[in-house]
Symmetry: C2
Subunit: 354 residues, 2 copies
């Protein structure tokens, strides 16, 4: 015990043991080990989303320990991606190209490819208690028609459980796999709610986050969206009013803009070139700016009156107020320059892969 | 006049005139126009350093006006790089690969290639008055031997003028082109002072910035470095004491570190793979992190006790205190882990291209 105290949690190199250290997630080390052996890999690239980056060193330790234990290859160099990562749209292509085995943790595949091992890292949070609580907010199964059910990638492993629990309560549960950008039936992304496009007037969203269900409610204004958050243990009903007001305010501020910066995001799954081109063709005072991370600091250097973001819609809506000038979605741009009425702006969603 | 007031400065599209708007720099539009015509370019990518990014839209306007006026091609799409840019080491390779003509402004070439048009944007500041003032800080030409002369890329166009002024005062002026990373004789970079490696006990540095001359003085501790800043109009003598103390403090803080993050920078001219590998081979508790922008925010996500930066040395030394854990140069790492004495750490410089 006293000897071990100098090692950090999950440090396996000095003991050759404890491979199963405490963790909430299954990093699927066996699958990674198999790929290393099969490809006789010299380099293994690991990419984690922001909230899990600190797990990287331990996973690297585990991989190196496995390589040694099982004598998979002579030696392996593990590279951790230090790039920000907010989704499967956001692969570190530099690292991917330079790694024999490349593992992307925490998101489900946006597009299947042999170059990437996706390890989804499903949450092990029990979803049944919060679904039980959500029943109080849902209208009676006999009164309203069917119920739509959606969730995020991290709770996808419990999707059948959710469905059964609702069916046991008498609901007809409608689900679908929205489009190609999504891996699973019932899955939603911050930029894609096509899985909620089912024949039901109310949708149960099971998952965390403030903005995901807001986007869902914006994208489906005809439906009532009940939010069951199993991590924070809260049930709420989505209310888009404040959000819509904030968006209208941004559009109004941008109406006087002369010079527009049109952002084309260079991240593999966040580029919408046709949207960017359409605006450039529409407006002689629009300038194309290419970048990967879209941040207030980077845009402050450009002398523009307003920006249109054709990249990740969440940056526009969630981070919008942090930018020094109004930041609009492509649809909001059309309202600001008078191409369409303000009442027609909807939520900006993303439907292709790459 | 009243009609024009609605146009921003340099907006040429609505007048077809005013191509020669006020500007401090020569953007070498003719050279760019020739390349557009020669390559029958559809896309032109422009990359500016941070301080000049706001000039981008005007230069884009000028280029489009020229294309139309001279009927160079059917149409051209101008793309502005929104990536941070701090040197010729920092080419936007994404934009470069996707542009028919790619122009990098504000830095001299680190490596000549047909893919890039480098437009150096020389300063038009008069350097003679500050050299005159600097004479008071320089020792008499008859007492000390020769005088070394160096400057930064933006004042390179006045280098012969500087040399003549000093020779007229009786100095024997020694200059050289340091190595392959530098374009010009007498040129220094924030990461390379090889041009000051001349047979002279005192060096006159003509240029701005606080850190460039400090690096110069650190790299050449045996020489007296006089700084003539023609932009801020100040003459000083480089004093490395405070800088050295700060570096020693960082090394001391890192001496207890168990887990080391070793940063490999993925920018085209900032990667030192061999240095990174050497440290990883030296230390089982070192983890390789790959990234382009090395920022405090990005590193905060990693649970490390200290970092070694094999990328841009200026980030380590100039921004070091902004990181949440000690950030060392490769040489300082060796001192922290006991591979060499603390007294032997020098300034971290960069001598290759790519």
């Amino acid at each position: 015990m006293s000897q071990d105290s100098s090692y950090s949690e999950g440090d396996l190199r000095n003991t050759g043991m404890r491979l199963k250290h405490d963790r909430e997630w299954d990093y699927e080390l066996d699958r990674i080990a198999e790929a290393i052996e099969e490809k006789d890999a010299d380099t293994v690239g690991l990419q984690f989303p922001e909230g899990l980056k600190r797990r990287g060193p331990r996973v690297a330790d585990d991989i190196r320990a496995l390589v040694e234990e099982r004598d998979l290859t002579d030696d392996v160099r593990v590279l951790l991606s230090g790039q920000p990562c907010y989704g499967a749209c956001d692969l570190d292509t530099y690292l991917m190209k330079r790694s024999d085995v490349f593992v992307h943790f925490g998101h489900s595949p946006m597009k299947q490819t042999e170059k990437v091992i996706y390890v989804p890292l499903f949450s092990n949070v029990d979803v049944l208690p919060i679904i039980d609580e959500a029943l109080e907010e849902l209208t009676d199964p006999t009164e309203e028609g069917p119920l739509g059910l959606v969730t995020t990638a991290q709770h996808m492993n419990r999707f059948d459980e959710m469905r059964s629990a609702l069916e046991d309560e008498g609901y007809e549960v409608k689900t679908r796999r929205g489009d190609d950008r999504l891996t699973h039936e019932g899955q939603v992304l911050g930029c894609n709610y096509a899985s909620a496009d089912v024949d039901a007037d109310q949708i149960l969203y099971v998952g965390g986050g403030k903005f995901h269900p807001l986007g869902l409610a914006m994208e489906h204004p005809d439906k009532r969206v009940v939010i069951a958050d199993p991590v924070n243990n809260v049930v709420t009903v989505a209310d888009t009013e404040k959000f819509i007001k904030q968006r209208y305010a941004s559009v109004h501020k941008a109406m006087d803009a002369q010079k527009w910066g049109v952002i084309f995001c260079t991240k593999i799954g966040q580029g919408r070139w046709e949207d960017a081109e359409r605006i450039l063709d529409d407006n002689d005072d629009a300038y194309l700016i290419t970048m990967d991370e879209v941040t207030p600091d980077r845009l402050r250097n450009f002398d523009m009156d307003a920006f249109v973001n054709t990249g990740c819609p969440r940056i526009t809506t969630d981070d919008g107020p942090r930018f020094h000038k109004p930041m609009l979605t492509p649809g909001e741009y059309d309202a600001a320059v008078g191409n369409k009425p303000l009442s027609e702006i909807g939520f900006d969603t993303f439907h292709d892969t790459w």
